[in-house]
Subunit: 142 residues, 2 copies
């Protein structure tokens, strides 16, 4: 498979519009089963509060996965992300209702590299809180 976005048509500074991802308690239960990370802070409100958290919080890797999906959806190729790194700067708190929490991901092309690769800087927020910082992906374009 190869990317849809063409390297030659991309400019440094170009913005990738924000996409909102909803995360509900049930998503975290599914993610626990899929990842094998069953820590109670991700599904048990009583336990989360007992250890000092405001409420159940999303797995950091879940949030990171949404940011990864944002990049591959943009590039049009699930294998487009070559390098991926983030700092987990804040928690995504997930209330027990149907709206859940929202993770809003946006990006900007920060650098053009060789071999038709670009560096995409990512921002992930939940409400006004930045939940990933120093998030960047090296992306293989067409």
């Amino acid at each position: 498979m190869s990317a849809v976005v063409k390297y030659d048509e991309i400019e440094v500074g170009q913005e990738i519009p924000a996409v909102d991802y909803t995360v509900r308690r049930v998503d975290l239960v599914m993610y626990a089963g899929a990842s094998g990370d069953f820590n109670q802070i991700h599904w048990n409100e009583r336990f989360a509060k007992m250890v000092g958290l405001p409420d159940v919080i999303a797995h950091g890797m879940y949030t990171m996965a949404q940011a990864g999906r944002f990049v591959t959806d943009w590039a049009g190729d699930p294998g487009a992300v070559v390098d991926f790194g983030v700092r987990f700067s804040s928690m995504v708190v997930v209330p027990d209702d149907d709206r859940g929490a929202t993770i809003s991901v946006s990006g900007v092309v920060e650098e053009k590299l060789e071999d038709k690769r670009v560096v995409v800087g990512l921002t992930a927020k939940s409400g006004d809180t930045r939940v990933l910082s120093k998030a960047r992906a090296v992306v293989q374009l067409a």
Copy 2:
């Protein structure tokens, strides 16, 4: 929550023994549902081969999640990983049988930082193939 591993007891060069994680087709189906990444290369063998892959392959973020779990299990705190970055260097090919594929993750403490943090370098292999390279996590210890 806080980590179990104590910063003062850790030395640079210390190795974290390998842990093997099994990944079966059903894990990828669960991961698709949890992450929202339903690309067919992760569950449809016919499609995967049609686009030139050897077989169904694991989501890169799934492999990365196992490496993250390795670190938090070692540290004893699900929130211990502050920074996390990898290069996706090769695919994890998942055969259609009960044994599935194995992702073997090991680590070494590469650097001691301020604030009781350490840099852990990670190796993730499937068989003899390195599936993550330049994988590193900054980990908050006790």
